[in-house]
Symmetry: D2
Subunit: 335 residues, 4 copies
């Protein structure tokens, strides 16, 4: 096959990472052009990769040498770009979250369905080998019926306040990965959400109405219960663990370490830290995500559909309502 | 010092275990007499240990050669025996839970306080070396301010239905250990409880109004949040993990294994199971519990006071109300 | 069955440990009497256990209420006591090493065989659950043909020099456990030994002609090779690991920890130490050893025969010759 | 800085890997041209990377747009190419082993010294984060004086017999990495070698005079002892462990896993395999190796000098003599 030619939109941290991975480590894809609302950002990346800089999204969307777009811009622009991609018949990779309101999401879904273009949403953690190992045990029936899923998902440090303010808050920005994960692990939709939290890391986070510490409990259609805990600041690194428990056993994805080594002295054992953040932990998942994208371009079903992008947003919105109304909230109250 | 002479009341599984440990492995204690409402049970144990069989509790309580009683009978008899011990000036070890209602507990507390006898409640897990390691890290400040506590506490198999029926249900029988643990780890009282659960293991458990699978979220006075998950049936063994997360780091107590060994073949890694149940896992904690008891008899403060026995019952009752009313419940609603 | 009545000879550290374990934790055995060449030592232990103090070995050997003797005295007295036990028809448990020369060992074997008394040698590590796990994998064929065995066996601190001087040196005192282990794991005799070492811990050890650091390589009849490393001083605790590698896989016995816990901070991971020494690590193996002894008294074959006691001494003597002559030495050069 | 322009000589498995890594993942280096004695091999790689195919080494060596050569050809051609590089003033990266005889190595060293070109030998394992962690503990003094180094180094499957035949045998082809590692870890030269082994994997390996299973014991100048075990066939994957033990503690580099996950069922624990071979395990070390190379090109000292390439060959040759003469061999007997 000839490589999938991808136009990367958004050259911030995550867009740049995708563009570099596609260029250097994804055998069946290449970057055709890059765009960013900030000219300097796209210019720098274009130069680094030796690819075309697009001055406008349209230069990518209307180009014959682009097969697909990677939408890595600010969240509020995702759907407009997705709709534009659909309108020009381009396949799309869209970063999470799709949007912060369901009306936008549904507009994007309608456009993509009407155009029939393949779309993959950027829930990369599904492709992490250890998380996937847990899900494969569930899917293979090794754990019997799933009763409980338990996730710890903790960032090493909070994002800038300016970012937080437009992020949709912890549940739509950060926990949304975990909401995707519990659907992925259980293979079952969430019916009810109870969320609670606190501001323990930084008062400024509370002042914009957000939380930095949270626990969320979800019930699933199949009877399983999921418990998620989040923190915006784990000083020891990026703590990402997933566990499924069922009638026939349990399976757990533990953290990798920066080195698999240990020292023992009279004072006890000492060992290396966790990977610092997603660039240290999740590169293999991003590569597998792009391999899946190229397979989708060859006709395989989308590994993370727009419906998979919508459902966690519903859960995230239900979580916020749960916090505000101090009660469990059914997802069908949200939409 | 001469050994503490203990009269063991209740010769069921847990009473027998305590009596054997005291006889054989606790340097500063010995069993003086044993009593059980079932004559054969006490006769058998008395013979095994070469000690006196008491026909009535009074034979122990009024005996000059007994310094303390170990109350290991059915839960509903704990308080009457505690009060009787206080009235006769005997120190007491009381198994958990103290009772299933606060009026009884408060009656026991009043009697013990009036008599001034030392009392220790049987929350043995505080003495587990790994759980204690976590608590010591918190107490030493190594983790900074505690933000989250996470406990998985799963039994290998449900108790008999007849037992369940009088047990106070999962929250007062099983989770009560975890409610004690979160107080022990955080050093902070619980202010609010949200509990939810399901019947996924055995429908008969649901038919007596109980749950077999549960998730409980607690807020503490100091701002920390605790998340507990329970199952009555972990087919892979007795799964007992405790984790504390704070501003300066985390600490986790992981399961011990029946053997610290691993096999690697072309099919992957293979290893031994978890300990099957509390007799396999927690013997070191029971021994340390009795060492602490003998220290208390020498004048040290009680390591697990009656107040420590009361608080988890309040949380357990709040958890049941939370399930029934489908809302977070403040502990001060309970008492 | 009625309990096996055991006369314990030698009330030093190891004899006392055996006596206490037998008294308190071995269901089918009891201590009938204790003897030590130092009267005070046996008096103290007799009082602690409430058993008879024997003034002479003969008081035990000729007693009708003794079924078996536990020979835990100084090494040079083992064989005379074993012969005396055989002559009086007593079964025997004999601590390792049987003796420091083969003539003595063979005299003991002849006496025991002539008398037909059951004898078990005190290679307790065979009963450690993790080491046993590895051996069971080999015996079950899970590893295919064994190619390599690898042992690290390191003490936390050297014994007193006075002890060292009569110990037979590192190979006959310490490595002898590992020589037993490689026979146990492989099920195959050692044909050739290469040993080398150094004095790195304490010059005084070298001054008595001993080594404190050693590496030994053995060839087995079945083609497997074993590599052992020893140190008299591992400041981080008692390091005891065994690994078998074969055509179908590998299996490893790793160290247990004093607590199965970990702490993670910005500085990395921190954890508890290893058990300090054999009393912390190997109690379960000693208990299983005594359970096996009581089974032997019921007619089961000896789990560690006198031949199993002899073979490691041959290897140990070959190791010393290898060091002195700086060449691999065949075990049939020794005897 | 402008990227280091590298001419890759040898487009077999290892040369191709280096060329791809340099092209895609080494920020400060790029491939300028590729050469292989087999035209098709270099043509295919040149096309893949979009770089020049050289028909002869001279086309690379005499080119102005090449700063350095990566010598990844068959071992017997390494030194001639190194000398040619030196003669044309090119820096060089040379794969291990430098050669199979010391005369050749010394000729290469003389040429490089005369020309003053920077040279780095391809002992990539020095750059593995876990092995490096162990070495850093030693270098920092955390372990005190080093007493023992222990390495298990096992390949998943033997190379083709045709390759074996010209490889220098297990000690010069495979163990040579471990001989480098013990020098790297201890910082001390090897003075004496005892090697022994067996043919347990494949009789054909024995028929060409080689071994497939080996144990090697080395003494170092500083008194430390190293013990290495090797196998050509570990069916469970690429088993690569390094451990240092000293007066103040120990440090161990354990195997990474393909996924950091575990499953627990009633049958015990189950987990993923080891990485299959060096391409799965050691990519991070190869990348760090090239980062070090680019630093050397900026003036940093060579991280793996020609002297570091020579010493392990001496040890390997001593190991072969030890096997043939069945005795410990001093390295100064070799050269």
């Amino acid at each position: 096959m000839s490589p999938v030619r991808i136009g990367v939109m958004g050259c911030g941290r995550i867009g740049r990472m995708h563009a570099e991975l596609i260029s250097w480590q994804v055998p069946n894809a290449e970057v055709a052009a890059v765009y960013d609302v900030v000219d300097d950002a796209s210019a720098e990346l274009a130069k680094e990769l030796g690819v075309r800089q697009a001055a406008e999204p349209a230069e990518i969307l209307e180009s014959d040498d682009v097969d697909a777009v990677a939408i890595c811009t600010s969240t509020h622009t995702h759907i407009d770009l997705l709709v534009a991609a659909a309108d020009t018949g381009k396949a799309a990779f869209v970063e999470k979250p799709l949007a912060l309101n369901l009306a936008d999401v549904d507009r994007g879904i309608a456009a993509a369905e009407a155009a029939g273009v393949p779309v993959q949403v950027g829930f990369n953690r599904r492709f992490d080998p250890s998380h996937r190992y847990v899900r494969d045990r569930v899917a293979a029936g090794d754990l019997g019926d799933v009763h409980l899923v338990r996730i710890s998902s903790r960032d090493p440090e909070p994002p800038p306040l300016m970012y937080l303010d437009q992020s949709g808050g912890i549940f739509c920005d950060m926990t949304i990965h975990d909401f995707d994960m519990i659907r992925y692990i259980t293979g079952s939709e969430v019916t009810e959400v109870y969320a609670t939290g606190a501001v323990l890391v930084d008062d400024a986070i509370g002042e914009v109405g957000d939380l930095d510490t949270a626990v969320i409990v979800c019930h699933h259609e199949n009877g399983a219960i999921s418990a998620i805990d989040n923190s915006r600041q784990a000083v020891y690194g990026y703590d990402q663990r997933v566990e499924a428990f069922g009638s026939a056993g349990m399976s757990a994805s533990e953290n990798p370490l920066t080195a698999t080594a240990v020292t023992r002295t009279a004072d006890g054992a000492h060992g290396p830290t966790l990977p610092y953040f997603f660039l240290d932990r999740y590169i293999p998942s991003y590569l597998a995500e792009w391999d899946a994208f190229t397979a989708m371009m060859q006709g395989a079903p989308s590994p993370v559909t727009l419906a998979d992008g919508r459902a966690p947003l519903v859960i995230g919105l239900a979580a916020w309502r749960s916090v505000h109304e101090r009660r469990p909230v059914r997802t069908d109250e949200i939409g």
